[in-house]
Amino acid sequence: MRALLFLDTENESTGISSLAKAVSFALAFSFLCLLAMAAFASLEYDWNWSAVYRYKTKFIDGWLVTIQVSSVSLVVACLIGGLSALAARSPFLPLRYLSKIYIEGTRGTPLLVQILLIFYVFADAAHLDNRYVVGVLVLSLFSGAYVSEIFRAGIESVGSSQLLSAKAIGFTPYQTFRYIVFPQALRRSLPALAGQFANLIKDSSLLSIIAIGEFTLNAQEVNTSTLSTFESFFPLAVGYLILTLPIFYLSRHLEKRLAFDL
């Protein structure tokens, strides 16, 4: 019994058995469920799943839009992040500052503020009236700043001794980047990039504010039509977890594999 619930602190190297993991997880999970049920019991909540169930295609459509918007944004964010990371190392100094201002400005302001600013001010001025394009653009710009920092860390993780070796061999600066720095930087960036993708998926929910029909907005609309708040928003949380948990898991897995493999 004790072995199922407690970590063997005397010889930690043996690790935790999978049975102990399963039992302990089940305990923790049931505790949270009990807590939630107690809360609903005291609310005398009127369950109405059938009304919400009628809107299931609305949930699925929104969920798919969230995946699409996040995926396209990730690709564009990688492009922006890559260019910005390169610009930050450019011998042409104004480019460096451009990249610096972009990164600090983006990381220093809330995404919601950026969405409002770009949607109501810049997009209007540029006559961009497809709100999906604007949404992807905002998310990409926002995420690109973080991706740029991820790439920068990856590039800097390639040690100076390797750069000296590459120079001694006779590689040009371009060849050094192409064959030595880039492949290693990319591999070391992958775990963090995966994590960033999960963040993007969560952050995309804020696009509901400019009426983009993604997962969160659709759930809000179901809530308005059915007045079943919990039944509308519980699937919302689960829908996000279905996307983010595997990605976080993948990220952790990549991290472990790369740790052994360099």
């Binding site: 040690g159 001794s161 390797q162 000296l164 070796s165 590459a166 120079k167 001694a168 061999i169 006779g170 590689f171 040009t172 060849q175 064959y179 030595i180 492949p183 290693q184 591999r187 493999d261 360099l262």
Partner: protein, 243 residues
């Protein structure tokens, strides 16, 4: 190899690493650079390798000055081989690719031929079955043998070693020194920075004692090791041989 270093200075910011270093050799197979830590041995080697530019003075290798422009420096670097203390190899490539890629990309050898040449070098260094392994899967000594193989692949006139064995245990370091000694006997010119005095005395024909950014003493290695003139070198040798 004919080597001439004339009043070389090298500064890093405010720090003066080399303060007018002079060294002239008419013909030498193998030159060793010895001296206390921080004296400027590695800096001197990097200047000879064309990896950094001297702040002042002139360097000539075989009567040709080490070039000044980046373009010419790159061509110059292609004509020599360099082996550092450690971390020479690229960790994301296997041993074979570490040797073959520079041949293909820098020296314009075809892909098949570079891989053939890399494979035969690996065999020559008793690593024939390890070609597909990454540096992390090889021992320190094996890594260093791959690094030496890579520095030889393009058949350079001159090979420079910066403490090639100081990251290795005595057993492996003996192996590497044997490899280097064979290279010297096979007719390669080399410059070695080393703390292995026995090896320096046996394998090199000339030696220079570098301390505080200057060559304090230089000459035929047999004479220099057996009969040091300046008291600082005598003291240095005594301490090195004690441990």
């Amino acid at each position: 190899m004919k080597l001439s270093l004339e009043s070389i200075t090298k500064t890093y910011g405010a720090h003066r690493a080399l303060k007018g270093l002079d060294l002239k050799l008419e013909s030498s197979r193998c030159l060793t650079l010895i001296g206390p830590s921080g004296g400027g041995k590695s800096t001197t080697l990097r200047l000879i390798a064309g990896l950094e530019k001297a702040s002042g003075g002139s360097i000539q290798v075989n009567n040709k000055p080490v070039p000044q422009t980046e373009e010419e420096l790159r061509r110059y670097r292609k004509s020599i081989g360099v082996v550092f203390q450690s971390y020479n190899l690229f960790p994301h490539f296997d041993a074979l690719t570490n040797i073959a890629l520079p041949l293909e990309k820098v020296h314009g050898v075809s892909r098949e031929e570079s891989r053939d040449r890399a494979q035969s070098l690996l065999s020559q260094f008793k690593l024939a079955t390890h070609g597909r392994k990454k540096p992390s899967e090889l021992s320190g000594g094996q890594n260093q043998r791959v690094a030496i193989a890579r520095s030889l692949a393009h058949n350079p006139d001159l090979i420079l070693f910066d403490e090639p064995t100081s990251a290795l245990d005595p057993e492996m370091s003996a192996q590497i020194l044997d490899v280097i000694e064979e290279l010297i006997q096979s007719g390669k010119d080399c410059v070695i920075v080393t703390h292995q005095m026995g090896f320096a005395k046996r394998a090199s024909d000339y030696a220079a004692f570098i301390s505080r950014g200057k060559v304090e003493e230089s000459g035929k290695s047999l004479e220099l090791f057996d009969n040091p003139q300046c008291p600082e070198l005598a003291q240095f040798l005594e301490r090195e041989l004690k441990y």
